[in-house]
Subunit: 395 residues, 2 copies
């Protein structure tokens, strides 16, 4: 008998991937321009020009043995130092290179962190709507995944529900702000309140709950006034999982990091756990060339004004057609109320208009669809009449 859990996971494509494959088939049938594919969170804005220039320069002018050789498992020291210094500059933290562990992207950051913290039977909380792979990652690490509903309509944390969900077995809470799939950002007030709740719970029960902040969309916020607060400044037992996939439009290259808050007393234990978890999962080091790239372009971001324009076009039009939209502050997703109770049925009907929308059920929320607007402005313009007809079909 094989490992049937993993065989089953390998056989079921996520519904997002299913839809994406359907889209490719449909495009072949009726032409690429006639299918409006909002299924995947693959950045549509190119990497900043500095990425190309830096890669060409590094490859042309480095000793290949040094460039392509193993780095230490945690990542090259100078790269980790650069990341720590930049975080300190952004957030007034006091991290050093040894707080940083370079990874093969956000998924690796999460699996490594979970495998460092979790013992079999522990519980890990996330707030719905949540990225569906959280459950898969938690279960492999031995944890029970606990979804806590967010506040209706705003998708902010429902603290009453959170307090009820905390138990003696809770090992960690995962937050994801800006959020996939809702685009919602947690402001400073929410993070402060969250820290208070966790501190109070620890004080009362003696159980330390770790706060894992999954931040691949940190730089994708659309108004100067909106800031993604750094959890390190509010809660000692916190770990940031980061990826350059979205900020630098490099999702296929698998480069990111884990930052461990050195304000926690057990910092060395947690960091050692991360090093050990990286070993057992088979992560020898993060890709060396892209580590060197990070050292050069750590403070650059793709042109996110394109995503903002997409959001504005889409939100305004959808509201005009009668859809109920939470106008998101970040990421590149809209989470829109379906026009009937069953979001899967709604997404099916959308397909009749060649609109590919992901039903929110997989994100743990019924009655919504996710629209990934990391697409061309041109496709959005072409898709608007289809959204209009879809709305009219419900009238």
């Amino acid at each position: 008998m094989l490992n049937e859990t993993n065989v089953a996971l390998g056989k079921t494509r996520s519904s997002i991937r299913e839809l994406f494959e359907y889209g490719n088939k449909r495009k072949a049938e009726i032409g690429e321009r006639n299918v409006y594919d909002f299924s995947l969170g693959n950045p549509s804005v190119p990497a900043p020009e500095e990425v190309k220039n830096a890669l060409l320069d590094i490859i042309a002018n480095s000793d290949p043995v040094a460039l392509h050789g193993y780095t230490s498992a945690q990542g090259a020291y100078s790269v980790r130092k650069t990341v720590a210094d930049y975080l300190n500059k952004l957030f007034a933290t006091k991290l050093d290179a040894d707080c940083i562990y370079m990874t093969c992207g956000a998924a690796a950051s999460l699996t490594i962190t979970l495998n460092a913290l979790v013992n079999v039977g522990d519980e890990v909380i996330a707030f719905s709507p949540y990225f569906p792979e959280y459950k898969v990652f938690c279960n492999h690490a031995g944890a029970v995944f606990v979804a806590v509903e967010s506040e209706r309509d705003t998708f902010q944390i429902d603290f009453e529900k959170l307090e009820k969900a905390l138990t003696a077995k809770t090992k960690a809470v995962i937050i994801n702000s800006p959020n996939n799939p809702s685009g919602v950002v947690y402001g400073e007030g929410v993070i402060k309140k969250l820290a208070e709740v966790l501190k109070k719970f620890s004080a009362e029960t003696g159980n330390t709950v770790y706060l894992i902040s999954d931040e691949p969309y940190r730089e994708l916020v659309f108004d100067g006034s909106i800031k993604v607060p750094c959890v390190f400044n509010y809660y000692a037992h916190s770990i940031v999982c980061y990826s350059y996939s979205k900020s630098l439009s490099l999702p296929g290259e698998r480069i990111g990091y884990i930052a461990v808050n050195n304000a926690m007393a057990e910092f060395s234990e947690v960091y050692a756990g991360i090093c050990g978890a990286g070993r057992v999962l088979g992560y020898v080091c993060a890709p060396a060339l892209f580590q060197r790239l990070v050292e050069r372009v750590y403070d650059k971001t793709s042109d996110i004004s394109i995503y903002k324009a997409n959001r504005d076009t889409l939100c305004s039009a959808l509201e005009e057609y009668g859809y109920k939209v939470v106008r998101p502050d970040g990421a590149f997703y809209l989470f829109v109320k379906a026009l009937e109770e069953d979001a899967k049925a709604f997404a099916e009907r959308a397909k009749e208009y060649e609109l590919l929308l992901v039903a929110g059920d997989d994100f743990g929320v019924k009655g919504y669809v996710r629209i990934a607007y990391c697409v061309s402005a041109d496709m959005i313009e072409r898709a608007l009449p289809a959204f209009k007809k879809l709305a009219e079909s419900y009238k």
Copy 2:
């Protein structure tokens, strides 16, 4: 409580890494030229010139969104097709693109394969001397790691011992040829015999045992007459774990693949298990740029004549000084009999002559040291008097 297994693994550096760090400290004290560091298996021969040219060309002339975007989890189709076609050409197999799963290097190939096959309590066999991380990878997947001693002196498979080790719980046997740390290559006769033993065991017990062939050193063989046979041609239930780390001198870039033999009846189940295991471990896709690179340079190899020259210089000199050496056919390691019973004491005494040799204990064999000769010819020449003095100190 954190995950104490992983915390402990993060705290203990492997003895190889310990020695490497000692070497760096010692070099700072007495000068780089005066320390003879044979500790690490980091390729010293640069990547072939084609690697640099292909990387520059791909980066300069590709659409960055397509280039750096997610590939499918298994890897880009055209890349997998290239790999399958090349294996078919080399080994007269009949693989197609869907037999290949691109990975972040050999460690990922192994952890993914083990997590696809293993249920808690299964046993996985490897032959000592073995790569120490095998045990770590097996344990995380839930398997009991079973080391079977190789034949003394030749380090070929001891089939009598293997037959005794096979049980109802045996899920897989890992082979590694050319071998780290011995450099020994299994010829066709050994692979045939191994296949026979496993087939006979399956026929008698109904228990299918998978053969995992870990082949990062496949191209590193030093005589035209020596071929590394492809296990697919001898045993249906076989899986090849490959990495370009050594053949293309790209160990830091984390690029390799898993090939699943489509001759086995349960092929689709095993491949699905691999896709699922990749998901749970957090491997979203192998680094996209290096997948594209593989498509261009799949048939290139670093200049291994440099390793061969190193082997010849070192073997001849060591034999002359009175060491007992199994002259290896491949990889870039010598496994040399220590001049006293306790290899750790021997390696400690070697340090007095500034020779950094890894005691074989961690590889599951007592009384030997590993010499990684992926170093400059110049360092070897400078180290020879130290090897001579070390031998004389035992006379």
